[in-house]
């Protein structure tokens, strides 16, 4: 018999991960299947093991929650809110303001099935909403996607690190399955990082004021600010792509999957390899910026077939196709409504792809 490790639901692990990353304040409105996050945090205010965690408030609405978070983020404190599908829609206005005001902020979306009220099963149908800004105006957010309970615990520290480094909202996009899944995880030993917060609105110091506003009435001012944001997003896209490769070295078919689908894909890689099929997995950890450079590397190393596995009608498949840029065949295998694709369906799709004729490739590749 061994000492019992931590055994937590994904949502609980995420809450602990945020606490260990130095969370100061949490605001949220209850919505299934994300409610374990506020429920876990509610009892932790003032506990000596998390000395920074001082503020927990159940907001009156999703709108109030994101705006309470904006207020706290404006003071430079580590702030988080969490929700699921319908609530994520309601928060979009606030996320747009936070992006425009360049506020570091962590927003968690435990994706459930939709559209509308949908159901409480897992989907990844908020992928576009998360990775394309989601609210009004031309902004982007950083989007992180865990695929296990231990990673649910690890990613809040990365999220805060990126949020403060770039002064931008960061979204953790997970799903109902991972939120409810319980797994054993090691106790992490991370000290919270420290970041510059000299920009925060915590009182003027003589002539030095801090004004956090998204209003730029002069057209030239807004133009300058939008260009500044775009340059920041370009830098993020250049430097912050993150992904994990599983057996892609010699792969004929590379599965691309995130979240719970990456777990299905891991199992598929194992079982297909056992049957002699050369299958690999590329798992985006940053959905935004999308790890297009890694796709590019795989294409340049000869991969000609990508199979994208996702819980929606086909959203990330667009990003894979954009990155492959016509140089490889990109297919999707999707499931919706809270259901997951079966291993048989994944196997059949991989086999169909593996035996298909070599896809069209770009001219220079053919010449080579």
């Amino acid at each position: 018999m061994t000492a019992l490790p931590e055994f937590l639901k994904g949502n609980e692990a995420l809450a602990y991960g945020a606490l260990r990353a130095g969370l100061t304040a949490f605001y949220g409105y209850p919505i299934t299947p994300s409610s374990e996050i506020p429920e876990t945090l509610a009892a932790k205010v003032g506990r000596p093991e998390f000395p920074r965690f001082r503020v927990f408030l159940q907001a009156a609405s999703e709108l109030e929650a994101i705006n309470l978070a904006i207020g706290t983020a404006a003071t430079g404190a580590r702030t988080m809110t969490a929700t699921s599908g319908p609530g994520f829609s309601l928060k979009q206005e606030g996320i747009s303001y936070a992006a425009a005001m360049e506020l570091p902020l962590l927003i968690v979306n435990v994706n459930r099935a939709g559209p509308g009220l949908g159901n409480l099963g897992p989907e990844q149908s908020d992928y576009f909403q998360a990775t394309r800004g989601g609210g009004h105006g031309g902004y982007r957010t950083i989007v992180l996607a865990p695929d296990s309970v231990p990673e649910m615990a690890r990613l809040p520290a990365l999220a805060f690190s990126l949020a403060f480094r770039y002064r931008t909202p960061v979204i953790v996009l997970t799903d109902a399955f991972l939120g409810q899944l319980k797994e054993d995880l090691p106790v992490p030993d991370v000290a919270p990082e420290e970041w510059d917060t000299s920009w925060a609105a915590t009182g003027a110091r003589g002539p030095v004021r801090h004004v956090l506003s998204s209003l730029h009435l002069e057209l030239a001012d807004q133009n300058r600010h939008s260009r500044h944001l775009a340059a920041k997003y370009a830098e993020i896209a250049r430097t912050e792509q993150r992904s994990e490769d599983v057996a892609t070295d010699d792969a004929d078919v590379v599965l691309v999957a995130f979240g719970i689908c990456a777990r299905l894909a891991r199992a598929a890689v194992g079982s297909m390899r056992a049957r002699g099929l050369r299958v690999g997995l590329l798992r985006p950890i940053t959905l935004a910026p999308f790890p297009r450079d890694r796709i590019d590397d795989l294409v340049l190393s000869g991969v000609r077939r990508f199979l994208v596995l996702e819980l929606n009608h086909g959203q990330m498949v667009d990003d894979v196709a954009l990155a492959a840029a016509g140089r490889a065949e990109v297919r999707g295998l999707t499931e919706v409504g809270g259901l997951l694709p079966t291993s048989a369906a994944i196997g059949a799709a991989v086999e169909a792809m593996a035996v298909s004729p070599t896809p069209l490739v770009a001219a220079e590749e053919v010449d080579a």
Partner: protein, 215 residues
């Protein structure tokens, strides 16, 4: 080595608590565990379901498609039987499931869990309390009896699991749950499978590895 178990019943039967105990029992034995409530590649309404995957190596997919073990706590949960892999084990709470049709190729273990639990009234934390709610602990013991090891070696990890998982409010139930677990364990070791008439002749295999043979 990966093992997959699904526990199914209705609300109030402690189905998810049972799944949690099973998960912690694996953890106590140094295995990796992934456990979920009622999500999966198939959904059937109106039932509570918990799945427990345990393995010596890190677990790739936490999803169960063809379980090794299915625990059926009520009649509607028999709907899950077709999921079982050939040669898998169907563990039935015989107190609440009137009849189990012949299941060729499956090992069927029937335990009158609710009745056994009700009989443990002497261990109720308060006099007069209905102890049949401890049926999930009886089934927990029955599951453990399917593996190797005697009660004397299983008991320690079980106690550790209860210490760790029961809320402060429920710690008073610990003696009852432990006794119920032992009762389920011994029932399977004493009776094996096939002891009850509803089981088709020839279909069930012996209930335990190294336990008592069917009478």
């Amino acid at each position: 080595m990966r093992s997959e178990a699904i526990v199914a019943g209705h609300g109030g039967q402690g189905v998810l608590e049972l799944a949690n105990w099973l998960a912690y029992y694996h953890l106590a034995n140094g295995r990796h565990v992934a456990s979920t409530p009622s999500y999966g590649p198939e959904t059937r309404g109106g039932k509570v379901r918990g799945s427990v995957v345990a393995a010596d190596a890190p677990i790739d997919s936490p999803i169960i498609e063809t379980p090794d073990l299915l625990v059926v706590m009520n009649t509607p949960s028999l709907d899950f039987v077709p999921m079982l892999r050939p040669g898998g084990t169907l563990l039935v709470n015989r107190s609440l499931v009137a009849e189990v049709a012949p299941r060729p190729g499956l090992r069927v273990v029937e335990v009158p869990a609710t009745d056994l639990a009700a009989g443990l009234f002497a261990f109720a934390p308060e006099p007069g309390l209905d102890t049949s709610m401890a049926a999930n602990a009886v089934v927990f013991g029955a599951i453990l009896a399917l593996g190797a090891g005697e009660w004397a070696t299983v008991r320690g990890p079980v106690e550790e699991v209860f210490r760790h998982t029961l809320t402060d409010r429920k710690q008073a139930y610990r003696p009852l749950d432990l006794r119920a677990t032992e009762s389920g364990f011994r029932w399977v070791r004493d009776h094996g499978a096939g002891a009850l008439p509803a089981t088709a002749p020839g279909a069930p295999l012996a209930a335990s590895n190294g336990g008592a043979a069917p009478p």
